[in-house]
Symmetry: D2
């Protein structure tokens, strides 16, 4: 009656424990748009680790809840410079231990030694010192203990991206060569030897300011990088030479992030509720020195805005606020719709801007319904813009794109200043001339135009569609 | 005044189009728990493809909505046998084209040729004929046109899993050798040559009945499989020999799935609302022949249940319903709580069980409040169970685990019948003896016990904790 | 103290069945913003009724699911004229019976007799014929059978609102007097006698076009209406006189709604997915005659828009689309953000506009990035507008507010045409003169301006803040 | 037809400001199930008030966010005794002012004077001293300033419920007569004169322990209460006599609530994350004195449970935990599924149980998989139970329902002790006899049975279906 007797064959099915004790492993990437920062959550058998958590960290708690796991470890790949790390926040909520590199004078957490192992469930994480991007940069290899010693995945932080390698300029130009050499060694001697088949999980994806040309493709492996990553095709000398001749932009807020992430950022107060403000309250706070951040679209901003406000469209907040807004002044928001509040608030909190004092209740129509003063910005289609240029009138053309974009083709006679550097160069412009600001599509140019308007430049235009439209219209560019 | 003049260095930042036109690529895995089926969504620049969609397909529509993309292609890796494919359903909602392998007489969609390319945005998918699991099995390699010809990822369907390869027994034992040879060639000549660094995306993860020993680790690459996958360590002869000597279970519902997926399954009626039933309605439908599926926990089922009901705990529905429930009878549900309805319904719909007629409103307490007849099942702790055995009384011990689990150790004197085969063997038991059903933890044994109770076996016990507890208690097992 | 000793005292606690069988009654109002339509869901002991369901009816299914109840009855208070009733849709999904008044030649449902009772759980609903708004208007009184015969609540449809009574002009001017008399009798002889304490539940709240001056307060009773409702302070003669001298606007789409709601509207196809369109697809559909509905804010519309598009801001869709868009042309949407799609789609579906063919993927910036032709609209602050008027140049001031608003004060020299009637009057304007369109704040004036632009009026302005800002600025108005 | 020609007719439409400035008023009832506590949110023109907020107060913040309003006022109707008031918590998050009655020595907030007015937007709230339930009980009448002085709604706290009036026994038996007289005067002299049409909004609905027989109907008015409320049909003498002869149960936790609500409860720590515990951690905490609260269904509890655990089904937590669990011991949870954690946690927090230390990760199957000791409880159907009684064996029948239920009919020979008083009476039972615990359906009897098991009573049964099933089976009861 034993069914096995009917057959000399071996009968298998599967590990039925699955159905009974749940999934053994869970791995999730958590992406923070705008910064294009990626953090990771890995859990196995009720224990979890988070790599490079962001500051608004409920997302990890929710994952842990779903997996019925306890967050045991938090790993930082390096002292980040482009956002506030959420390690302390998350540790406070979970009791997890924090580990980072050991080269810097961190005021919290512990330094992980090269080769140190951390186990949680069936997973084992091995710390790898991979200096170069920063002196204490770490990578962390992840292995499944059922598979033996070899890792299947490596968290590469800002050391190795998809299609790119980390910046080496942040320790200053004098150290760039040294750091570039270290980066080369970290990649070639520590990461590549892990094996072609190993999956890489970097801290940023395409669009981040932390790498020049990170690929749009988000999945990669050591093998794919060896094949496709331009930097990995070079020998050490070439590699270093390329790195030190590349100069990347460093927004001023990086300094604040570096300090925060070394000393431990302030806890994110849970008690803060951002309130709608009446026009009267809004005006009073403006008079007391609060800055106005207008997150509406460039079209709406062009149509009408509160005098003196910064135009940074909602999804541009993570990338551009840090270039312009100081940390010691209150911030007031103007939103396209109240549903944007949460997103705007998160974006700012990730950059350490905790001083939002409210938003204009009812939106801008509340303001103009009160007949309060408004300004507007000229919006030009490329056809209109071209017409104005052809007429030969005076008009300064200010191209605020990056150097790289500029070099790929620009309008003859245009002046080039990257939008982030406009404040330092603003005195170079005359207030008597109309200025047309242009970028690739019309968003960064709206920022630039708002900066000019704040400084009293009167006739300022934003070119809709920017260089994209210019080229699509078939107009000429030079290099 | 051009800032570039200050420096002879090249200044780069990043592709700012990101901030302005949104993310260029999105790749998501959509997992259906229980079946451990994985489907994939990939989009680029407003166009998307879905690989092996499930039948409840709003998830893909939601992803497409978020990405502002239109689903252009649906690819099937093979005529699936363990669930109803959602291709037609999704095509109806989106107008997408369906592609599958070309060996079978499909009543819908088109056959893709080996090497045929499909482009959507910056992505290109290349069809690869990889027969073996089924005669028309396909894999699809995905490449980023910016990276050149080489793919970065391959959808391997049921050809290559993480740590396992596909079954080759479904075409019947007489073809197993032929199919195993084809599978070997598909893997070694088509997939491995793609390169170690290529990421693999199979159609199932650990726990699926479609592979014997799929790994818990869900991330893998060609290189990692070459290193870790036991099947890939063999030469062709050994590979084939191992495959033909392995006999996997084939639940009877596979036949229905195969027919559905060849002919095109019925559309999922959106108009169906599953209603709560009064005890009276429930009784009447039972009398008309409807079957009762009790999805509560084994403990609650043991405590009290409606006579004749099948005990399949909620998360066990995807794996076990197809062994027991026919397609031509109505189904009535008993739920632990009404919030489980949606999940139970989805699980059943994925298996093609569209004939759910309602659930017991108010749950089982409504039933016993009406003093309607109840049955119960003896629940034994392993200590009690051991006590009974030691006392030497008559008690049949029925182990319903898989052959593989059985062989790793079982109780001396136990009888082994896999739970799925219990219906065929039930006549072999006497109704005069008490029967203790045991599995690994207590869930499958509850199914087994409910099958016995349905057939009139009176003294039936479920051993709580099963062999896991037995071993943890330090009791002896034999092999 | 032994509590058993206290037996001479009566000891009560509460009906513990609550905790054990769940809540016995649930009553919810479901509001459709914009139309300010209110439908109602009432359930008791597993049975439910819905009064005046809307067409996108998942909300009632969700409530029924939560209450574990089956929707048994659907009641219509009258053949609605301002939206498509969802009765058939909901009946299809649930099997519920539909009841409405019996005076008209309905093609579906049944006529309820005056005094007819319907029971569900502990609730009883009694039909009351209350003609006046329409010939077959019904009210439905709700009572709790535990409380005896007297109702506690009455669904008053469009017969009695909070602070207002129903319109009597929709059967045509020749019948207005007759209908007004009927309305008076229905209210005074059928509703008021129910008792002061009875709660009223009308079909619309403040802001609806179905009543002139419905109160902002949404809670009311017979007693409160007797106290506060201006119409109820009159005798029959005065009541009728007031009603027939009031002329309310009737948007042209009412005719379509009336037909739909008499014959039974088409089923809402679940299979429709609204897709993003490329600029090319968008242009092609425009060329084939599709109309463009731009749902962005008036500021953004003013900044730039596609030639020929209608400007109706998102929340204005329910109230204004029916004035302008025909039912026989395709509609294309332009959205501020893709997240608005669902809301715009629902709003249109409630009005019976089922012919949306897609939306502009990527939003307007995709359009101008392609250098496709754009138009703009002059936006004037009231200060600028006043300046222009003071300068004495030619400028037509077109006030598109309602007659009532106009009479409360307007700008000297302005022309008054209600925005809904602008199409019929458009020929009265000269294309040689600049036209400034003004409303109360700037939204309806944007509609008006877009209508003018469509007809080729070139110099058209929208006055931001409208008459609200004008008055707040302290400028003069006349009556 | 030129509409301007129609000027002899008055043309109205509606207040179009609606579409432009948003809804002017919002009123929401927020119900906390189990406690059947109702709090209220009212907002108008950007300002809001909350009446009797609960401690987990995000719900009010979310409403305020949706309405773009700032919570300005918090009103307490009285020092609540059945839950922890959320006033301080909400005030901390919003900066709102707290008002309550002035008779007690509150350590926070301000006392409102009789007749004191509070305005927010177009709403005005007037404080009314209505002592009786407690010495400082307040009601708050709400009026719409557009409607004149008369209120349309009154928040009646625990003074007047739907179908019932407040308890007057909580100040002690010696004051019951005095308080009852005050309550009569508050209702008859303060509330009823507001007018029949005024809507009443009490602090509790049917099922609350704060009133003996609150109606299932949740909507009511002064007029409906005058008609239907039994207490309002009496003269003062009868009213007082009835009140003092009624003895309601007072769970011991009321004392803690009273103290908390007088002094201000501790802030709800946002930093607490309830973690899953391993079986080892769970055992260790048990050994250190933590109590186990098993929230699974009575059936599952009967099937198997951890020795010493309290059986309180999930939805029974709000009503029964306060009878049994002390505030000075740690609590460990056992959940049917991890998704119940949030609900269990909220229920406990509302009662001030902030000492939850974790829950058993993986549920009870994790426990029995480890072969850890389990107990079970006999579950008897009424048929089995009746059989046992008929056989004439020894069996104590313990009826744990309320006195009121008991008096409506019970089993001959049964002993009656209300479940909440079982701990004090437990010594009255012998451990040598089997005890069958019965309630109305099987939930409270599971609590009772678990209390007996904790104290070492061995043979304890829970009768499934309880007296409901007993009667439905047609068995005899006596009075």
């Amino acid at each position: 009656m034993n069914i096995a007797n009917c057959s000399s064959l071996v009968i298998y099915i599967l590990k039925f424990q699955y159905y009974e004790t749940g999934r053994k492993m869970r791995f999730e990437r958590v992406k923070s748009e705008g910064l294009e920062h990626i953090s990771y959550f890995a859990s196995s058998e009720g224990q979890a680790a988070v790599i490079d958590p962001r500051r608004d960290c409920e997302v990890y708690l929710d994952l842990a809840k779903k997996e019925e796991s306890k967050i045991k470890f938090i790993f930082e790949t390096h002292r980040n410079e482009d956002y506030v790390i959420g390690s302390l926040e998350l540790a406070k909520l979970t009791g997890a231990s924090i580990f980072h590199g050991s080269g810097l004078d961190f005021k919290y957490g512990e330094g992980a030694a090269d080769g140190q192992n951390f186990s949680f469930g069936a997973l084992r994480l091995t710390a790898l010192q991979t200096p170069g991007h920063t002196p204490e940069s770490m990578s962390y290899a992840l292995s499944n203990i059922d598979d033996g010693e070899k890792p299947f995945l490596v968290f590469t932080g800002d050391t190795l991206f998809v299609g790119e390698v980390g910046r080496t300029d942040l320790s200053g130009p004098e150290k760039a060569e040294l750091m570039s050499g270290k980066l080369y060694d970290s990649i070639f001697k520590k990461l590549l030897p892990l094996g072609e088949g190993v999956i890489i999980c970097p801290a940023h994806s395409g669009g981040s300011i932390c790498g020049r040309a990170i690929s749009d493709r988000e999945q990669s492996t050591i093998g794919l990088e060896q094949l496709n990553n331009p930097a990995l095709q070079k020998d050490k000398k070439d590699f270093v030479q390329t790195k030190i001749s590349e100069l990347l932009e460093t927004p001023p807020y990086f300094k604040t992030m570096e300090r925060y992430n070394l000393e431990g950022p302030p806890f994110l107060s849970k008690s803060k509720t951002i309130s709608p403000l009446s026009t009267r309250e809004f005006e009073m706070k403006m008079k007391s020195g609060a800055l106005v951040l207008d997150t509406r679209s460039p079209l709406a901003f062009g149509g009408a805005h509160v005098k003196g406000s910064y135009s940074i469209w909602l999804k541009g907040i993570p990338s551009f606020t840090g270039w312009f807004l100081p940390y010691d002044k209150s911030i007031l928001l103007i939103l396209e719709e109240k549903e944007h509040l949460d997103q705007a608030f998160r974006y700012l909190v990730r950059l350490g801007y905790d001083q939002v004092e409210g938003y204009l209740g009812g939106g801008l129509s509340r303001w103009y319904g009160r007949a309060l003063p408004l300004e507007h910005l000229g919006l030009l289609t490329v056809q209109q813009f071209k017409g104005r240029l052809s007429e030969g009138g005076r008009m300064v053309v200010l191209d605020v794109r990056t150097e790289e974009e500029w070099e790929e083709g620009h309008i003859e006679g245009a002046i080039h200043i990257y939008v982030g550097h406009l404040p330092e160069h603003i005195k170079e412009f005359s207030k008597d001339e109309p200025i047309a600001v242009i970028c690739s599509i019309g968003n960064r140019s709206s920022i630039g135009a708002s900066i000019l308007r704040r400084e009293g430049y009167f006739e300022v235009y934003n070119v809709l569609g920017g260089m994209t439209a210019w080229k699509n219209a078939g107009y000429l560019t030079i290099r």
